[in-house]
């Protein structure tokens, strides 16, 4: 999963590829990012999670969702962006990876788009599995 284009410096961004078609575009600190649609289960409004003492600094807490306990990763903290959120507009993107569920907190969700050929108009395509790992 160490596919970091060194010029971008964003953890989890993917190199462009022809097979990545439909993506969800979301916003963090005024910039657009994308996640492949197939990894996304649902997008829900922000709800306050229960904080877990001792968890990594990018983990906001956990939330019960559809009978599971979902770990909420703060997108801003994960990408090293300044803290701050507008709870009315913020969204939780529910992701699934190898049977594990996680949610990524983002400033807002823009649209679904076919991203042919990878990065376009400054949209960064992210690898979902990276959010399941410790922040380094």
């Amino acid at each position: 999963m160490s596919v970091l284009p060194s010029d971008v410096g964003v953890p989890g961004s993917l190199p462009p590829g022809p097979d990545l078609a439909r993506v969800l575009i979301f916003v963090l600190e005024g910039r657009e990012y994308a996640l492949p649609l197939e990894a996304i289960v649902e997008v829900v409004g922000y709800r306050k999670p229960t904080t877990v003492p001792g968890a990594g600094s990018d983990i906001l807490g956990i939330l019960p969702w559809r009978g599971r306990m979902v770990t909420i990763v703060d997108g801003r903290a994960r990408l090293g962006l300044p803290a701050g959120r507008d709870e009315a507009r913020a969204r939780l993107i529910m992701l699934r990876d190898e049977g594990e569920w996680m949610a990524l907190l983002v400033d807002g969700v823009s649209r679904v788009e076919a991203l042919a050929g990878g990065e376009r108009d400054g949209v960064l395509l992210l690898e979902p599995a990276v959010f399941l790992q410790e922040k380094r």
Partner: protein
Amino acid sequence: MPEGGRTDRERLERDFLPEAEAIFEALAEHLRELEARSAAHEVKPALLNTIFREIHSLKGLAALQGLQPITDLAHDLEELLQRLRLEGTGPAAPEIDLIHEAYDALIRSTRRLSEAGEPEAADDLRRRLRSAAREEDPGAGPPVPLPLDPRVRGSLSEYEERRLDLAARGGCSLFLLRLRLDPEDFDARLRALVRALEERAEVIATVPRFDDDTTSGMLFHIIVSGARDRASIEAATGGVAAEIDLLQEGRPSAPDGSRPGQGEDQGEEIRGVSETLRVPVGRLDELLAQVGDLSIALLALERAARRMGESHPADRDVRELVRQVRALQPRLLGLQRGAIEVRLVPLQQVFGRVGRMVARAAQAAGKEVDFHALGGETELDKAMMDELASPLVHLLRNALDHGIESPDERLRCGKQRRGRLVLTAVPRGRSVMIEIIDDGRGIDIEKVRAVAAAAGLYDAQHSITPDEARELIFAEGFSTSGQVSQLSGRGVGLAIVRRAIRRLKGSIEVRFIAGQGTTFTITTPITMALVPALIVKAAGQRFAIPITTIQENLRIDRARLRREGDRTIYEHSRGPLPLVRLQSLMRCAGETGEGEERFAVVAGSAGHSVGILVDGFLGQQEVVIKPVGRRLRDLPGLAGATDLGDATAVLVLDPEGLIAGRSGERSAV
């Protein structure tokens, strides 16, 4: 005083009365069924189990509120039910009357509470309950003589022996199968055979025999009751060569009261089918998850209905709604328990495997050991049992390798040549207590100290107390020391054992007497699907603590607090108890003022008990523990999370892990 009185009263009204009412409601129905069944001479073990558990829950609730008379009465009733449950025969009329009388007394006491009175004393009733609980089983007598090898009969568990006796008395047919299986795949073949037999009859026991010639396979004796004839057993063996002996001819009809085998000719079709129904465990998990989610939805509904009732107290429809919603709860609980019950399997499955292992390992270690496994009929969740097998094997191997001495050494110490190794299981309400007892050399605390010092776990200058030794042998790193092989006491890999037990939300303790033996005691809930937990409040947040990990709940008497350096010590009646705030253990934000807490949960392992201070107890309830994701699951002291019905995650704590995490940190500083 009036102030404190009022809050106690409020707590009583909020926490105890509604739940007690729900239990009484369910009990009324179950007692009616018990009476009807016993009038019809029917026995339904699951019903007695249900009633037993309901009384047990009531006892727990009452104890939490400090309602001693109700606790005591419930306890004595529980003992009587325990006896009936283990006997497996239905209660007789005088016992039913006694149960009803106790039930009425419990209701009266509870009603008095709601009318602000004191619970009534029930000394006479309690005396009668206690004497009934001790009574001998009227059906018991000398065992019915059968043409059965005494060695086979001698190796039956108490429960198997009883079932054999009941079947013999009840006039069921009894067959003995003797067969040899290849050691390579005997496990699978034996299971298949037992399953096939169970479709036709009741398998009372499968007894492996080791003292025969083991080169040509393993010999098993299987006792089967209630089969129609020899041919039906031959059909079940499906090509496995077996010698079949008739131990007793079946009588055409078995008398009432006994519990005959569930054969095809016993007329209990429904039970016969359910006992042989094979269902993938995954499907049961799914069912349980659905029921769990339903119960959470119901809790939310109940809360909404109650709020509605508070804002519209005069509306009759609203009152009716609240009542109906409340009435759903015991039913759903019944459904949930049913879903859990189908996952329970007798511990015998593990005990049997373990018994074979002990025989082999003893031989390999050059030890002579009499091994006894008792209480194999105790039931446990299938998944829990699979997890328990390996720690049990570990402990038994330790006992063989390090506990029990060689025959020569034993003789020199004035002991019997053959060592004794006992594995027991006892149901304790919603938990199981398993003990591994040996009469070996115990643990040499000086050697523990030497090994611990070498591993850097202990200051070699200090002398060591038995309590410290009991803690050290479980310490991480103790087992990986290079000196392990020289340690002739215990301590090999016990950290792994404790970790496995903690994963099951259980606890493990050790007691020993130098030169006389060692006892390991494991307590685990019977299922992890639904674990009784205490809900506490600290740092403005709720936490759930599984009851099995708690030694005691304390209401802090401030007069008994004293400072000792930077520690707070509580003068407990059993000795000084260090206190630590949950908030600081968890490193929660949002400090409250020092010394605000009035309650403590006592946890920890032997000799290392710690009182964990919390702001309040919010009640006891059964929770579904859900795993947390891979980024959180290794946090010390966090066992998982649960949803109490308000779509919020509540962290489930492992207090021992919390305390251990903290002391580890301290010694590192």
